[in-house]
Symmetry: C2
Subunit: 191 residues, 2 copies
């Protein structure tokens, strides 16, 4: 059948590139995270999966808040740097211009065209990682990255990540409309 079994490995093609922010020991820290997704509709919850050994979880637990920032492709170098060095060893607080929202404890990145401010909702224990579930209290976007009041992915120009080949990608062209492209097929199946 032409299928190759690649073994028990994870391939999520692709992942979004985000910078998760938290206040750790009084300083803003940002780590590069591709393991992030929505997990609940109402209230709006998202989850990030972080290795327990990381520096950022300490701040998330202490402050009960964190942020998820989406860097544009122009921030690739800085975003990658955040994944190369740990806050355990390096002070990353001066890397970006930081702003705070209503929680006042979740540092967000001014240079990122889109950012989500989260209140810690729950923590799920897993063998190597912890799943930090956050309730989104506000989403912040650059005014010039909106179209009809909504974030426009082509204006945001976010980065995508694939592992284990470890590559970044940009977003390409519009392919179609969701909850719409399959309508013709739906009609066919009915008849």
């Amino acid at each position: 059948m032409g299928k190759i079994n690649l073994g028990a490995d994870a391939y999520i093609y692709p992942m979004p590139v985000t910078l998760v922010g938290a206040m750790v020991e009084g300083r803003a820290n940002f780590m590069a995270v591709g393991w992030v997704m929505r997990v609940n509709l109402k209230p709006p919850l998202l989850a990030v999966a972080l290795n327990k050994a990381h520096y950022t979880p300490k701040g998330i637990r202490a402050q009960r808040s964190f942020s998820v920032n989406f860097p544009g492709a122009d921030l690739m170098e800085k975003a990658d740097y955040c994944g190369l060095v740990s806050g355990h060893k390096v002070d990353k607080s001066g890397l970006f211009r930081v702003f705070f929202g209503e929680l006042e404890t979740a540092p967000m990145i001014e240079e990122c065209p889109l950012g989500l401010e989260c209140r810690l909702y729950d923590v799920v224990e897993l063998p190597v990682n912890n799943l930090f579930i956050g309730e989104i209290v506000a989403a912040y976007a650059d005014e010039d990255c909106l179209t009809d009041g909504r974030p426009d992915i082509l204006k945001i120009n976010p980065l995508l990540l694939t592992m284990p080949d470890n590559n970044y990608w940009t977003v390409g062209t519009h392919a179609g409309r969701a909850w719409s492209a399959g309508k013709k097929l739906k009609e066919t199946q009915k008849s």
Copy 2:
């Protein structure tokens, strides 16, 4: 600062488009899911967040297994259709050619260039959704979608999803190397 507060809403830019497969009442069923991510390194765990009212969770719980399939852009119409109609009402078992792996209970899609076979590891309760955590027991890829033995995203040509604007996108150009693009900056910060 030019930031617009969009309120307490979720914007993950972008999400991958997947088709989650499970055997439900003896038939293969597939639902469109963008809420999927890796959650643990070893063992390789992923999570999908499914609305409790959906049809698929019933099969996942009964069989203790599911699959996550990545459709190429050529499958957009069928993938969208899987998100438009529920297995509660429509038999989707004949939509794709189905194959099974070692678990023998997680239906996978032959037409999808990449698919992950998962054993149910845990279920996390959330208000509206359930988080189904699966341990990946095998990854299957089309031989002609590999480069140097690894899935090649440009050959897979997966779909991306943005909400709430409800659009599908393709992957664009290579932007850089992960865990590498920031190395120069790392050197600068040291000196």
